[in-house]
C-alpha cells in the first residue's frame, strides 16, 4: 500500500442546511469552510475559488429555491462543492449561465444580489461544473476544484 503523502485524514465532508430565506447561510458557510481549508493548509488560490463557489451556489439556493443542502467534500485530489435544492428548477441552463441573466426579485437585488453573475462566477472558478435540474422539482449543482500540484502548499 502506498503511503498517503498528505498529513490529514482524507475525505472530509462539511454539510450545511439551507432553509428558506436563510439569507446569511451562504456567507457563513463560505467563511467557515475557508477556515477549515486554511487549517488543512490549502493554498490561498484554491481556498478563494472554493469560497466563491460556495457563496454563489448556496446563495442561489436561498434566493431561487425553497430549501436545500450544501455539501463540501474534501479529498486529497479535489474538492467538490455540491448544492441540492427543492425548488423551481432552471428551465434553460444556457440562458441561466449567461452573464447578466437574472430572475432575482427586488428584495434580494436590494441586498446586492441579482447581477446574474453567480453561475458564470462558479464556472470561472471550477475545473468541472455539472448542473442537473428538473423544472418544478429542483436543481443539483456540482462544482469540482482540482488539488493538483501545490494545492496543499500554503502560498
Amino acid at each position: 500500500m502506498p503511503v498517503d503523502p498528505l498529513q490529514y485524514t482524507p475525505k472530509i465532508t462539511l454539510e450545511f442546511k439551507i432553509g428558506e430565506k436563510d439569507f446569511y447561510m451562504a456567507g457563513e458557510s463560505a467563511s467557515r469552510t475557508k477556515r477549515t481549508l486554511q487549517q488543512l493548509g490549502l493554498n490561498q488560490e484554491v481556498i478563494k475559488r472554493v469560497a466563491i463557489i460556495i457563496y454563489e451556489a448556496a446563495m442561489n439556493v436561498t434566493i431561487h429555491a425553497t430549501k436545500g443542502v450544501l455539501k463540501i467534500l474534501i479529498d486529497p485530489n479535489e474538492i467538490d462543492v455540491i448544492t441540492e435544492d427543492e425548488g423551481p428548477g432552471i428551465p434553460d441552463i444556457d440562458l441561466a449561465m449567461q452573464e447578466g441573466y437574472s430572475t432575482a426579485p427586488y428584495e434580494v437585488r436590494e441586498m446586492g444580489f441579482g447581477a446574474g453573475m453567480g453561475l458564470p462566477n462558479i464556472k470561472q472558478n471550477s475545473d468541472e461544473l455539472h448542473i442537473e435540474t428538473k423544472v418544478g422539482v429542483g436543481t443539483t449543482v456540482k462544482a469540482k476544484v482540482y488539488l493538483k500540484e501545490g494545492g496543499f502548499t500554503s502560498a
Partner: protein
Amino acid sequence: MKLLDVKNILNAKVLFGEHLLNTEVKRVFASDLISEMLINVTPGTLLITSLTNAHVIHTAQVMDASGVVFVGGKTPDQEVIKNGSMSNIPLFSTEYLIFDCCGLLFQSGLKGNKKDKH
C-alpha cells in the same frame, strides 16, 4: 497607503478597527454587487460600498479585504458591526458618496483592481 490615511482622506468614522489602522491598503474596489466583489476583491483590497448588510462583511472576510468603507453616512446595524469585529475587518463610515470617495483616494495615489479573471 495605510488605513489611517484612508480614514483621514475620507474624514471617516471608525466603526471597528482603531487598532488596525496601520494595515496596508493595496487596492480599492467599489461596488454594490456581491458577485462583483467576489470576483474583484483581492487580499488587501479596500472595499467601498453603500450596502450595509452582513453579506458585505462575509465577502470582505472571505476575500481578505483590508477594510470596508460605508458611504453616504450609512452605518450598518450593531449586529453587522459585531460581525465585522469578530472577523477582524476594519469598518469605516464616511459622509462622501461613492464617486467622491473613489476620486479622493485615486487622487491620493490608490489604484483600482484590475479585472482579475483566474
